[in-house]
């Protein structure tokens, strides 16, 4: 990296916030995909003006800028695949305002989602999006990826809560979109365009979020089923009865096998699927709602039903869901973790399709996730050291995505495209649609400075030179 660039960066944010040390490059080279790409320089910024100056500098020198929060993404959104400046925003972590009269919050991008939730809940308010990483992922990252979570079946995803943004554009201008009001139709809805743009269209430096009143109470249930088909039908039955639970999570037989030994709740040997159902609202209505749900799903082969009577018991049920991810390694060392989504009524068909793929290719596929909104976490567990496995996996993933798209679903519900899924975009979107997206990217970022190599297949855009 040109020493001149480093000097200019130091002039902007000071010496202690700029580093080209190998150790810093290493600790900013990865995210939860576990891929490694070393940046050329690591910069910590805490002011919007500095972010803007850094982006302008990057345009002058034609080097990539990679905004980074917690680095917990699953699709490579923060990876410096072409080197460049990793721009860390974790220190922009102030909650600027919680407005209890207008039910909004204004935050900097480095605020951790769970922390905002705790603060607003103290005031009787609620910020629903709850990605599994909410205790460490940042709101900036949540906005960039349009994060989801279990509660989204009832409450919607991140984009449904973003009212306004302050953004540094890829050419370094500071712009503001939307605002503090629920209604706003002035000009194009740039807010929505930035949400989920994976750090390719701008760097979010301030976020105005919508809050809602905190539900008074909740009730959590864990239901064990004889068959996966039974559980899938139960999901469809609940939705078609026009009941929207807060969460409707499912775990399939392979998942249950992984957690049976470590689960604090005893899981029957015949149990082939689990649904975790939670309802929330006024306390006096919850018992009735819970009963209604249990009666709707009763024809589908239920082995056992556990209803949490206390917060502690509810927590115990959620613990079953939380131990899933860490327990998967038991099957095989390498995990291909995808988050396809299908229309809710198609969950049973998707589960069937996945079972067939698993059998056809003789690879274990572990499925769990947000059945209530059709978002299934598909985990193909393999050992890549096995001869021919890497080639086989290319075919398996093709089939998984094709099955989702054929059911009018999507290849990603909440993790994003990043580098991991870029090559599958064309399975879902036509050339004209992708072309339009590229044009937008070009207008925003003529030098392809911001997060190059993401979303679109690498070869399709002129990448920024070093």
């Amino acid at each position: 990296m040109d020493e001149q660039i480093v000097q200019e960066l130091i002039e902007i944010v000071g010496e202690k916030n700029v580093s080209t040390a190998q150790a810093d490059k290493i600790t900013h080279s990865y995210d939860a995909t576990q891929e490694v790409h070393l940046p050329d320089v690591v910069v910590y910024a805490a002011r919007v003006e500095d972010v803007s100056s850094i982006v302008k500098l990057a345009n002058r020198w034609k080097i990539p800028v990679l905004p980074r929060g917690a680095g917990s993404g699953f699709t490579g959104g923060t990876l410096p695949v072409h080197g460049g400046i990793v721009l860390v925003l974790t220190r922009m972590d102030r909650i600027l305002d919680i407005d209890t009269e207008n039910l909004t919050a204004e935050v900097e991008p480095g605020v951790v989602t769970g922390e905002l939730q705790r603060q607003v809940e103290k005031l009787g308010l609620f910020y629903p999006p709850d990605p599994a990483s909410k205790e460490f992922s940042t709101l900036g990252g949540n906005v960039a990826e349009c994060a989801g979570g279990p509660r989204c079946v009832k409450y919607g995803v991140t984009k449904d809560y973003v009212l306004g943004l302050e953004v540094v554009t890829p050419t370094g201008e500071i712009i503001r979109t939307g605002g503090k009001t629920l209604k706003n139709v002035v000009g194009y809805d740039l807010t929505k365009l930035f949400v989920g743009s994976e750090g390719t269209l701008g760097i979010v430096t301030k976020i105005i979020l919508k809050l809602i009143p905190k539900p008074a109470a909740k009730k959590t249930m864990l239901v064990q089923f004889e068959t996966i088909a039974g559980a899938a039908q139960a999901v469809s039955a609940i939705i078609s009865a026009k009941i929207i639970p807060t969460t409707l999570e499912f775990l399939d037989a392979a998942t249950i096998d992984c957690i049976r030994d470590v689960s604090t709740i005893s899981l029957s040997a015949d149990c082939k699927a689990i649904l975790i159902i939670e309802v929330d609202g006024e306390a006096q209505l919850l018992d009735e709602q819970a009963e209604q749900i249990l009666s709707i799903i009763s024809p589908f082969g239920i082995l056992d039903t556990r209803i949490a009577a206390t917060d502690k018991e509810s927590e115990e049920i959620w613990q079953v869901r939380r131990i899933v991810s860490p327990s998967l390694g038991k099957i095989n060392p390498d995990k291909f973790n995808e988050d396809i989504v299908v229309p809710r009524s198609k969950v049973p068909d998707m589960i069937c399709a996945l079972e067939k793929i698993s059998m056809d290719y003789d690879v274990p596929i572990v499925n769990f996730g947000h059945a209530g909104d059709g978002n299934i976490h598909v985990n193909v567990m393999v050992d890549l050291r096995e001869h021919g496995m890497a080639d086989k996996m290319i075919k398996v993933m093709d089939e998984v995505f094709a099955a989702a798209v054929n059911l009018r679903g999507s290849i990603s519900g909440e993790h994003g495209i990043g580098t991991s899924k870029a090559k599958y975009m064309s399975m879902e979107l036509g050339a004209e649609t992708i072309g339009m997206m590229k044009k937008i990217k070009n207008v925003f970022d003529p030098n392809n400075i911001l997060n190059p190599g993401k979303i679109f297949e690498d070869t399709s855009l002129q990448t920024a030179g070093k």
Partner: protein, 418 residues
């Protein structure tokens, strides 16, 4: 052959890290610094790079590796249970083996490795401190200015004129049908807070036990471990295991969480046959619960004037899952109204020798305890570790609160009328 594990011994577990990032929530230094080099995931990546030869022991790597309290909170919550605290210890030993002990590391190891020096220091300190401090009330902010050679601006405990060994015999005979309890007191209790040790012995005596407080016991080794002095850790561990071998002790009790983590948890990881010793190590709160003391306490009449007390989880107990017993003990005390506080389980910021190297970060971590403490309304914050007491009192004084950090045993002794 070294009794401490080497970095190579961790190669397999280092690759278990899936880089999920969950350690960010639980790492006190990350919370203060918001920098990836401070968090477990970053350190594991650096350890992997060292093993693979992609990084050397360069300055920034050393800084990042120094930025760890070895509290073990991240290990506790890691889905893969990657032992980052042990990995950091191994890297620090690599650094000292390659480059020698740093200046501060040396001071610590001379101090803790030599009992004579510690004793002398303790006595000269005792001569000085009352002169300097006698007119200043216990909780005065002026004590903030009490200078220590290495760290300005830190409140330090008065070093006792008569240390624990001057106060308690090596062997205290109890009832003939009750076993002998070995007491590992540790440096802080022996030299800075001997009254905690006196309480411990008095309570054990009252319950009929014989107490063995061997004079040959040494520092547990946690500060040496923290500064990467592997040789000293070995020496201390050998001496401590030998110290308790002279009598047939049923338990080796500790009233210092760090010492418990040292002689119990760390010695377990060493490549030495310490199993008989480590199996006997027990925290006082767990021991007293097992002996049924809590029920007895709960049966006592509550005092009309009780003091509002909250609890701080020492990392070395929390990571062993010892969180209920100390709280139950406090709840059972007739002289105490127990209240929980926010961030009860977050680290105080002391961390072996961490606060010597990084006093500012240490202070920032300690300051995170303050809002929860304030909100709790407690006038005492009790804990089971003298190291935490020292650090908590420092944070409290910096915040100007009228709260005193105490050991649970201080309150227990008060309840039992000493």
């Amino acid at each position: 052959m070294s009794k401490n594990k080497r970095l190579q011994d961790f190669e397999k577990v280092i690759h278990e890290c899936v880089k999920c990032g969950v350690c960010q929530v639980h790492c006190p230094t990350y919370q203060a610094e918001k920098k990836e080099g401070a968090v477990a995931r970053g350190k594991i990546a650096l350890a992997a790079a060292l093993l693979e030869g992609q990084a050397g022991l360069e300055e920034r790597l050393q800084e990042d590796i120094s930025m760890c309290l070895m509290c073990g909170s991240c290990v506790d919550k890691c889905p893969k249970k990657v032992p980052t605290n042990e990995i950091v210890g191994a890297v620090r030993r690599e650094i000292t083996e390659n480059q020698g002990l740093s200046r501060i590391g040396k001071t610590v190891s001379t101090l803790l490795g030599s009992k004579v020096l510690m004793k002398t220091l303790s006595k000269s300190g005792a001569v000085l401190s009352p002169l300097v401090l006698k007119k200043i009330p216990e909780t005065s902010g002026l004590r903030l200015r009490f200078p220590l050679a290495l760290m300005k601006d830190r409140t330090v405990p008065k070093i006792a004129y008569r240390n624990l060994f001057d106060r308690i015999p090596e062997y205290t005979e109890g009832d003939s049908d009750k076993p002998i309890i070995g007491f590992f007191a540790g440096c802080s209790i022996t030299y800075a807070y001997p009254e905690i040790g006196e309480h411990m012995v008095a309570i054990l005596k009252r319950m009929g036990y014989s107490v063995y407080l061997p004079r040959s016991q040494k520092c547990c080794g946690i500060p040496a471990l923290s500064s990467g002095d592997g040789k000293l850790v070995e020496k201390l561990s050998e001496a401590n295991v030998a110290a308790f071998a002279d009598k047939d002790v049923q338990y080796i009790i500790t009233a210092c969480a760090s010492c418990n983590g040292g002689i119990g948890e760390y010695y377990k990881t060493m490549k030495a046959d310490y199993g008989d010793f480590t199996a006997k190590v027990i925290d006082f709160s767990v021991f007293l619960q097992q002996q049924g003391l809590f029920e007895q306490l709960a049966g006592m009449d509550k005092w009309p004037e009780r003091v509002k007390v909250t609890y701080h989880d020492p990392c070395h107990l929390k990571t062993q899952g010892i969180t209920k017993e100390p709280r139950q003990l406090l709840q059972a005390l007739p002289n105490v109204d127990f209240v929980e506080m926010d961030h009860a389980s977050s680290c105080c910021g002391l961390g072996g020798t961490f606060s010597v190297y990084h006093y500012d970060v240490s202070k920032a971590i300690g300051a995170r305890k303050i809002p929860g403490l304030k909100e709790s309304g407690a006038s005492r914050i009790a804990t089971g570790c003298p190291g935490c007491i020292m650090q908590l009192q420092d944070s409290i004084n910096h915040a100007g609160l009228q709260v005193k950090a105490v050991h649970i045993l201080d309150l227990l002794a008060q309840a039992l009328g000493k």
